[in-house]
Amino acid sequence: MTVPDVGVPARVIASRPALLEDRSTHYCPGCGHGVVHRLVAEVLEELGVGSRTIAVAAVGCAVFAYEYLHVDFLEAQHGRAPAVATGVRRVRPDAFVLTYQGDGDLAAIGTAEIVHAAARGERITTVFVNNGTYGMTGGQLAPTSLLGQRTSSTPLGRDARLNGYPLPITEMLALIPGTAYAARGSVATPATIGKTKAMLRRACEAQIEDRGFGIVEVLSNCPVGWGMTPVESIGHLAEVAETYPLGVLVDRGREG
């Protein structure tokens, strides 16, 4: 590409992280996974751990994360990523170990695995993308779906009496002493995306500094599953954040 001569020296102000593969993704138009992938790539690169990262892909829309992130990947069974990551971590103390999981994976079928990885204080980092639905299978009720949310398995909306309440699992995990860092971000706006990146960095540092388990929940949108346009779905994230408030939930053992 030639740079037009505009009288001032050209400088790069944004580029694709080297750990993010240069290819189009399978994600639906407007989906938040692309933003979160980029944040993960940027943070791993900035921390200089990409070449020793072993990531665990979970079942769900992001199972193909290994197509987009330039690191070693292992594919776990549905919900088991934290246990699989535990196995990696225990035999590879030199590795940086990451799980990338959705809300159905982490907060329903994989509840036992995530709780006990946190309880053991596993030195792993979990990127938890919460879009309040099972996107890959067609938009069914997730444990994180909002009250009243219409899904393909709650066509009349989530009724607390019938379907229970939205599960604040990151708050639950934050209670556990083994959790060194827990926070909730969002892909709603450039400002929340910037804060989410800082949270991801802190969660990774908890592993690098050998302080314990780290998790960042990222509120994300699922325009197709929610029956909204991409723009509408991004706007809806403000309402999602009323059930799932943004911010740092716990930050244990940090020096200084």
Partner: protein, 367 residues
């Protein structure tokens, strides 16, 4: 590397299997407490940290097998152990391991079922171990020891087979072998290590590696499955194991594995004292099943008696092996009960009584 301790020692099956794994260079162990396997986990809880190697008591058998998947994907030598109800929970992970070709040794010290069943010994998981535990079209080698010494030797063999073929390997034993103590001269072996360009360790100066079982392109997945099946044919041609005792003049064959083979041995001694020429055919690899060897050993037999701690599972593979050429009888106990030699001898007598002498069998049946 083989290490023989000259001293005869009294060892409990579960502990002997555990120590054999430690000595075989097991890099990591993951487990969950369940009777009658718990001593194996407890031994590892003490010995693995002594060796500076990871031991994790998982949140469930699902967690344990998942940890094994993770550790095995880095090329580590990994073991998990459980008993029947936990083996069901490990089925998911074994399917993924088979699909993504991650080696591990899975020990199942079988107890009575179905359901929570009993904590007594059983061989009720034969179908599950041999015919398929998880979903999908795959096979897993299954090794069945009949003594504590053999169990120790098979631990090292299981690691070697697992790593050579990139597959889980099941060590299938019953609660008697897990709980009993026997005098053994421990012989340990630490099999040579494989190095594979699939092992995860970080994409440092090389392209990233992915260990996975998912492939949404049917043509590609079929090609992967064809490759797995070709691997299984190789295993079938190379890894068949069995042992025979007193087969030379045997007119009736007992086919039994594990503790049932030990009972059969006593019954054979008594039957021979009574003039019945009986021998033992003992499969050691349950998959690949020694079908050809059994068919050959039984070519001139008047009958086969299958003795097992189940209502009839091994017997199906025996029938498949002899393809109707020899009558096959079955004697089984379930629920945690073990067959006794007296009953086996009685079953032998019945089989003998209702089958024609070898000389009287139609052409092709007698030598």
């Amino acid at each position: 590397m083989t290490v023989a301790s000259p001293e005869r020692v009294l060892l409990k099956g579960n502990e002997a299997i555990a120590e054999a794994a430690v000595q075989a260079g097991c890099d990591a162990y993951f487990g969950y407490p369940i009777t009658p396997q718990a001593e194996l986990l407890e031994w590892m809880a003490r010995r693995m940290p002594e060796e500076g190697r990871p031991f994790v008591q998982a949140e469930s058998e699902i967690g344990a097998i998942s940890m094994a998947l993770g550790a095995g994907a880095t090329g580590a030598r990994v073991m998990v152990s459980t008993s029947s109800p936990g083996f069901s929970l490990m089925a998911e992970g074994m399917s993924y391991m088979a699909g993504s070709e991650v080696p591990a040794v899975v020990v199942n010290i079988m107890r009575g079922g179905p359901g929570l069943g009993s904590i007594g010994p059983a061989q009720a998981d034969y179908f599950q171990a041999v015919k398929g535990h998880g979903h999908g079209d795959y096979r897993v080698p299954v090794l069945a020891p009949a003594s504590i010494a053999e169990a120790m030797a098979l631990v090292a063999d299981a690691f070697e087979i697992a790593e050579r073929y990139r597959t889980p390997v099941i060590l299938l034993a019953d609660g008697v072998l897990g709980q009993a103590m026997e005098p053994v001269v421990p012989v340990y072996r630490n099999p040579p290590r494989q190095v594979g360009d699939w092992m995860l360790g970080g994409a440092d100066g090389r392209p990233p590696r992915v260990v996975r079982s998912l492939d949404l392109h049917p043509e590609a997945l079929e090609a992967h499955n064809d490759r797995l099946q070709a691997k299984y044919r190789t295993i079938e041609s190379r890894e068949v194991r069995w042992a025979g005792e007193r087969l030379d003049d045997a007119e009736v064959l007992i086919v039994a594995y594990g503790i049932a083979a030990r009972v059969a041995r006593s019954a054979i001694n008594r039957a021979r004292e009574a003039g019945l020429r009986v021998g033992l055919f003992r499969p050691i690899s349950l998959w690949p099943f020694p079908s050809a060897a059994l068919a050959e050993a039984a070519a001139h037999a008047r009958a086969i008696l299958v003795v097992e701690l189940s209502a009839g599972q091994l017997v199906e593979d025996v029938r498949l092996a002899v393809e109707g050429r020899v009558p096959v009888f079955h004697h089984g106990r379930t629920g945690g009960m073990v067959p006794v030699p007296t009953d086996v001898v009685e079953a032998l007598r019945r089989a003998w009584a209702i089958t024609p002498d070898r000389a009287a069998r139609p052409a092709g049946g007698a030598r």
